[in-house]
């Protein structure tokens, strides 16, 4: 394997893996959000801990 091929494979694989993971995380958030019927404003992040689903 030449040095250029190794670099191209390494950088390419890294981009694909990180982008796939990012898309999976965002997609999973959307899927679960839809299941929950979230459409209104709701606190979810660190520091807030609302346990009431938005549209239950």
């Amino acid at each position: 394997m030449s040095d250029i091929a190794a670099v191209a494979t390494g950088w390419g694989l890294t981009f694909v893996v990180v982008a796939t993971y990012a898309l999976w995380v965002v997609g999973r958030g959307k899927t679960i959000g839809r299941e929950l019927g979230i459409g209104k404003r709701q606190e979810l992040g660190p520091g807030s801990d609302s346990s009431t689903p938005a549209s239950s």
């Binding site: 670099v7 390494g10 993971y21 979810l44 520091g47």
Partner: protein, 253 residues
């Protein structure tokens, strides 16, 4: 920090959208610097460009595992005293560990490719490589433990203990190149030691480390929010079950 505006952008907020945009721009510049602007190495040639992925990846894996360990300690302390069981810390530990495993995996793959062209082999069981693969495997075990069905607080405590056990390996990985004879070179970036890297390469490496940190932060925030959504879904399912039983009781009476 984390309002969810609508179902279309479920885990995104203004803050994370700005962070995400900064991350994308930073990655583009990192690619330009790492693959085009920075020079070839005198000995390694183009293979040196693996440095800009490999070193930042392990740095962010270490940082994520530190965050996991710290959050696990806080969870263990607060899970008994807080009404919510301190689950915020458990979520943070879980999301950081997952991102840490991702980057530890990238470290291993980029390291193997780099090793093939410089050492002449993909893999050797030397101290640095062995302890790194062990780190990867133990944190995979941690993630598996988090998926075992159990009461959330009990599961959180078990995971927190596992996180602290796994963390013991982090300093061992880092110092393995100093403690034992390894094929792997010594640390490229160390606090208090003059870097042995030419200017442009050094600054590209520092910039890449910063970029990977921004990307990992974005991933951790989103993963945290997805874990929270998963919890909400479970709570919703439980509420629905209780409501249906109540209705049945009403009908029965």
């Amino acid at each position: 920090m984390s309002q969810i505006p609508d179902s279309k952008h479920m885990t995104a907020t203004l803050g994370t959208r700005i962070l995400g945009s900064v991350a994308v721009a930073a990655v583009l510049l990192m690619t330009l610097l790492g693959l085009v602007v920075s020079p070839e190495d005198l000995v390694q040639g183009h293979a040196v460009r693996m440095l800009y992925l490999h070193v930042p990846s392990i740095w962010i894996a270490y940082a994520a595992f530190v965050l996991t360990a710290a959050s696990s300690v806080l969870f263990l302390i607060r899970s008994r005293s807080r009404a919510d069981g301190g689950r915020h810390h458990d979520r943070l530990a879980g999301s950081a560990a997952e991102v840490g495993v991702l980057f530890a995996g990238i470290t291993l793959v980029t390291g193997m490719l780099w090793g093939r062209v410089t050492w002449g082999t993909y893999w050797q069981w030397d101290a640095r490589l062995t302890t790194t693969v062990l780190l990867f495997v133990t944190y995979l075990g941690y993630l598996a433990l988090r998926r075992l069905p159990a009461d959330p607080i009990v599961r959180g405590r078990r995971s927190a203990v596992m996180a602290l056990i796994s963390f013991v390996n982090v300093p061992i990985v880092h110092f393995s190149v100093d403690w034992w004879r390894t094929l792997h070179q010594k640390a490229s970036l160390s606090v208090g030691r003059r870097p042995e890297i030419t200017g442009e390469m050094y600054w590209t490496l520092l910039y890449s480390t910063l970029t990977v940190t921004v990307v990992a932060s974005w991933l951790i925030v989103h993963r945290y929010r997805v874990i929270r959504l998963e919890e909400l879904r479970d709570e919703e399912a439980l509420n629905a079950l209780i409501a249906s039983r109540l209705r049945e009781d009403d009908v029965g009476n």
